[in-house]
Amino acid sequence: MSNITSIEPSGPKPRPWLSWELVIVYGFLIVTSLYFLFPLYIVVITSLKNLDQIRDGNIFFPGANPTFHAWYRAWFEVCTGLDCRGIHPNFLNSVIITVPSVLVSISVAITTGYALNNWPFRFSESFFTVLIIGSFVPYQVMLYPMVLLTKNMGIYSTLSAVIFVHTVFGLPILTLLFRNYFASLPVELFKAARVDGAGFWRILLQVFLPMSLPILAVAMILQVTGIWNDFLFGVVFAGPNNYPMTVKLNNIFTSTMGVKEYNVEMAATLLTGAVPLALYFFSGKYFVRGIAAGAVKG
């Protein structure tokens, strides 16, 4: 035992400090991070300058005495057309659209996903196929029929129309998401609950729902970011008085009256992106799973 020589392999195998693989991986990571972080940096420093500093200074360097004045203007004062209330009314619109759309679409989808997986009915297989197709149909195809439908329902050009459309379009992918999640749970759990006498709702609410927190988080992230960032449905269905934040932001950029206030535009951009940004920061690993799940959407 005692005459182990130094050349005898023992313990962890020595590895070179630097290898080609590492250089490539880290190189790629650093380049992509810069690609995304650099514009963000420009946006942030510009939003903290005043107009003189923007005109005279270098775009790449922060100005002296950073100020939130542009943020205030973006929130309360910036004009599009004759409306000079800033973007805060549209922030409210976005909230009013997002909260019910997310809650209703997730509640309905979790129930249908569970029913499809655990309570097969005569046409459940066909229904499932339709759902898969449904989640791949491009939204544009459905746009005009949806306009007609909401007009007939008498909600076109209101926030209700946007909520309705978001809820309906979210259902296929969410139902698939939940169905697949429930399919991954052991069937014996469902059987045990049935033997214990639990019915449809009790099994869903008392057995499955408490086990579904990870997938609920994923669905929540998918929906909140998707609906908050939506532009198309907002333009088409909300009507000029109810635009969500994204549409308002676009109008700020394109309105051509007076001097172009880059700092206010940047501040408005950051304010609009704040909700998804905060969600990305606070939901870490769930967000990654959400991306993976969203990849199915194509």
Partner: protein, 371 residues
């Protein structure tokens, strides 16, 4: 299954013409089965033979394609699982992961709307019987496999069911724990006296636990008998091969002469069949001579009940501690013999073997049926 029609005692569980198909695949084929009150019945068979399907049909978790299920004389074919008086224990435990042990045990009782004091009383009794009292506040994640399975049994226990259904409850446990829990299940049965239907592919569990074993193959029951009858008088070669470890030895041989004059021709030698009790008078034909490892004696003298001796060569010796397995080459066929561990043999050694013919089995080489 003719005995079903003759007398009509109220059986705990009865099955009539039960069949289950998935598309064109028949998983259960017209099963009839009567289980008396308080019996421990084991359904034994290889994976995929339809054991779980049968159990799920009894539980009401699966609608049979044809046939009826009776529990306590009542036709429950269309009843919900909760209304059948059954409790079920699964291989994967199937405990509700977000609930404590106490909530797991009481879930079914709370669903039924039982009064709090009664629930507490029953949970207390079950946790005493299963010795899980100290675990009541834990979540399933914090329990070992054996503890989890105890809780799962407790879930059936608190509901005071007539029939316990077990679907391979010990298969996820390691060997030592499996042996322990096996004894506990047997003790539980002795204490409660409930009817229990127990699915397993493990022949040792079947032998040790069962009042009767139903050996299944491809969706039908091959033999339904007490463990000792199944072991000693298997109805066909399939049953014989499934029970016993290592399995029964089968020697290709031939019957010469009929009835009382029948003898077995094996290699160059002959075996007298005067000790063998045939099902029907023997006829000359190709047969498999089935003999269990413990019914082969090595280098034993002539003795009542033993056949003439045959030449064999020792191939491999496997010491088991309590006894040893000797693998032999006999007339170009391999067989195993179980011997006292004091008997020592070496590979390549030439030995003489004798068979205990009265405890052996003869199977028709063509049909596999016992002769």
């Amino acid at each position: 299954m003719a005995q079903a029609q003759t007398s009509r005692p109220v059986h705990s569980v009865s099955i009539r013409g039960l069949a289950q198909s998935y598309g064109a695949v028949q998983v259960l084929k017209q099963l009839d089965l009567d289980i008396p009150d308080g019996e421990f019945l084991v359904l034994l068979g290889p994976s995929g033979c339809g054991k779980s399907t049968l159990l799920n049909c009894i539980a009401g978790l699966l609608e049979p394609t044809h046939g009826q299920v009776f529990i306590k004389g009542k036709n429950v074919t269309w009843e919900e699982p909760k209304d059948r008086g059954i409790g079920m224990v699964f291989q994967s435990y199937a405990l509700y992961p977000q609930m404590t042990v106490e909530r797991n045990l009481s879930f079914g009782l709370r669903v039924a709307g039982m009064a709090k004091e009664e629930i507490d009383k029953r949970v207390k009794r079950a946790s005493e019987i299963l010795q899980i009292g100290p675990l009541l506040d834990r979540k399933p994640m914090q329990l070992s496999g054996g503890q989890r399975q105890r809780v799962a049994i407790g879930r059936a226990l608190v509901r005071d069911v007539d029939v316990f259904l077990f679907d391979e409850p010990l298969s996820n446990l390691d060997a030592k724990l499996r042996a322990e829990l096996r004894v506990e299940i047997k003790r539980l049965h002795q204490r409660l006296g409930n009817t229990m239907i127990y699915v397993t592919h493990d022949q040792i569990e079947a032998m040790t636990l069962a009042d009767r074993i139903a050996v299944m193959k491809g969706g039908s029951i091959q033999q339904l008998d007490s463990p000792m009858t199944i072991y000693n008088k298997p109805k066909n070669r399939y049953v014989a091969g499934f029970i016993g470890s290592p399995g029964m030895n089968f020697l290709k041989s031939e019957i010469e002469g009929a009835g009382a004059k029948a003898i077995l021709k094996f290699g160059s030698g002959k075996i007298s069949l005067k000790d063998y009790a045939p099902v029907a008078p023997l006829m000359p034909k190709q047969v498999a001579f089935g003999v269990r490892p413990e019914h082969i004696r090595i280098n034993a003298g002539a003795e009542a009940g033993l056949s003439d001796s045959f030449d064999a060569v020792v191939d491999i010796v496997e010491p088991m501690g309590s006894d040893s397995l000797v693998w032999l080459n006999v007339a170009n066929q391999t067989m195993s013999a179980r011997v006292e561990s004091s008997e020592q043999y070496k590979p390549g050694e030439k030995v003489k073997i004798r068979f205990r013919v009265g405890l052996a089995s003869l199977f028709d080489e063509a049909t596999g049926d016992r002769l």
